[in-house]
Symmetry: C2
DNA sequence: TTGAAAGCGCTAACAG
DNA sequence: CTGTTAGCGCTTTCAA
């Protein structure tokens, strides 16, 4: 089942391999005649160049890696679409890797990239990622990295984020405007850039309205649905429980709704809920869910575009900057008066 | 920024390249001493073998492709997790390609695989895919293919599906048991294996209960949310409209809920709804949604496992068989009495 | 305009 | 146990 190679094309046409090769790069030093002959035979035999031979020789793989915490989240699903759309356009291939929120796995994955397997990396870091050593190491080896969504703010490269702080502010402000006095902020990590920034905005909004934010209003959830349900039920049952909840990641929404349902707490009557979410089901939840919706597709697209631009240039250091694609607040019933 | 190679390790240690190479395959013909020396230096220099050189030489890429219609659907998101989990375990890399439901793109993607870029392919076909020529061609070139979820039933290879027909039967039967007399079946394609099979089951259930299924009860939806909303509203407003709806793919759920909301049609009072869906929000919809939930993770895992098993053997023809991972009916409020 | 030759980094006979 | 050699399929000087 030997695949067809340039050598075979060359032999068949009594040409040299190098001539054939030049045809495929559309070199001007080849006559139209020969080009046509070669292309015709190539099509007839269904020839496709071996990418690995080419990669080896040219020292570039025309492949990028996308490193994600997980993909069971609508944000990343949609982001992948954005990435894939520009990769395809640029003739790049996309390898996907999941860290499952494990720093160790993230490090192992990036270490592998030292091999030259990929020309660049798009990454959204795990929530365990407190050091960026594995990332800078890769960059030193000449592999450009673009962060998206969950970024390392100290790392000297381009970051694509949404306006997390402003969105946090907006979310809290919205709840306050709707009459909330005591707002709880639900998160899955205290270290993650997005969580921290959203929280900061939230606190600023509260401060601006002379409302308190106590330590107990910051609620750390987990990866486990059942646990989260218990945590949130406990929160809601406290005598001085919140009248407004901000779910800082979409996966926490279900637990909030379920907790309220089980405790027969009315949304938005007793407690108002807003969630950072891209779920298409937000409008059909009971009640429909007010969301801060991230521009997932655009962020993916932007990240990929920035990466490819730097790949085109030989010595293009990615600038240490943050590109912000704004989120949008979609008001629905869950924060109604 | 020249990467470190075996040659360098060899020179540094005054060994031959082949000796170094053998160390990395853990060959028994190398002394413990040398192994240690080499490994130590490799670790120190952060050496990672060039996968493309290796692929070129060994004629295998340790990479598989996953070809999907799209990934904005929870089924595929979760399936990717299943696939990735076993790929990682087996030391394989995963390239991802999206067809966006376009046959032409699917063909172009598979054509590229003739190059030897991947050792095997996991595919869920587009809803335009009526011919399997591009797939069999690839198989003839020695690249094994495993279908999952959306399969080509005539193609001689292994297919991982869920029990679509039985699930269709179950869905309809459930509606009937709950008192429905007139059931509409919503689909996005008449050719797709999954849609056809689910429909078949549905019809069988109706027949078994001596209930009619008219042509107009088969409702073909589109890729466009707004259009679907209009289609479903039209359906519900007909004088002899359905009292039960089966949404054969999850993306149609929102349109059904929204249509009912806009028309003030009570679920489940006036019309009962069941959906083929993996959405985690099903329990918190209004009303909570009865679903046929597909074992997405398991199907992804199974597909990958079957593929890797065939990859281990040199001449392993994949058997032309269908492996069925059953779906489960989760009864919730949307089909209550 | 075409071809010969070298080599990308690794593996696999085979010889020593 | 280690080394020599050839070559995977392609690109890229350089020479003709």
């Amino acid at each position: 089942m030997a695949n067809i190679s340039m050598k075979m094309l060359a032999k068949e046409l009594r040409l040299s391999v190098s001539t054939v090769s030049k045809v495929f790069t559309d070199s001007h030093e080849i006559s139209e005649q020969t080009k046509e002959k070669v292309l015709a035979l190539a099509k007839k035999l269904n020839y496709v160049p071996n990418p690995y031979a080419s990669s080896l020789r040219k020292r570039q793989s025309k492949t990028i890696a996308v490193v994600l915490p997980e993909v069971a989240d609508s944000f990343f699903s949609v982001a992948i679409n954005g990435i894939e759309s520009v990769a395809r356009e640029k003739g790049y291939h996309v390898l996907i890797y999941l860290t499952h929120e494990l720093l160790e796995r993230e490090q192992a994955i990036l270490t592998d990239f030292q091999s030259g397997r990929v020309d660049g990396v798009l990454i959204s870091v795990s929530n365990e990622t407190s050091t960026d050593q594995h990332i800078t190491e890769m960059m030193q080896r000449g592999i450009p990295v673009v962060f998206f969504d969950r970024v390392c703010e100290e790392t000297a490269t381009t970051r694509i984020t949404t306006n997390d702080r402003d969105s946090g502010y907006l979310a809290a402000q919205h709840l306050i405007e709707q009459g909330c006095k005591r707002i709880a902020y639900l998160t899955i990590s205290e270290s993650l850039s997005i969580s921290r920034n959203r929280l900061t905005g939230c606190k600023q909004a509260l401060a601006a309205h002379h409302l308190p934010f106590r330590d107990s209003d910051l609620v750390l959830c987990t990866d486990n649905e059942a646990e989260n349900l218990a945590i949130i039920k406990a929160l809601l049952e406290k005598k001085n429980g919140p009248d407004g909840i901000i779910a800082s990641v979409e996966k926490l929404t279900a637990a909030v709704y379920l907790a309220c349902k089980e405790l027969k707490i009315a949304i938005p009557g007793k407690v108002k809920v807003i969630s950072f979410s891209n779920q298409s089901t937000a409008p059909i939840l009971n009640p429909s869910l007010t969301t801060i919706t991230q521009p997932a597709f655009e962020m993916g697209k932007m990240a990929a575009t920035v990466l490819f631009n730097s790949l085109r240039k030989t010595q293009a250091q990615l600038r240490s900057e943050t590109i912000v694609v704004p989120s949008v607040l979609v008001t629905r019933e869950s924060t109604g008066k």
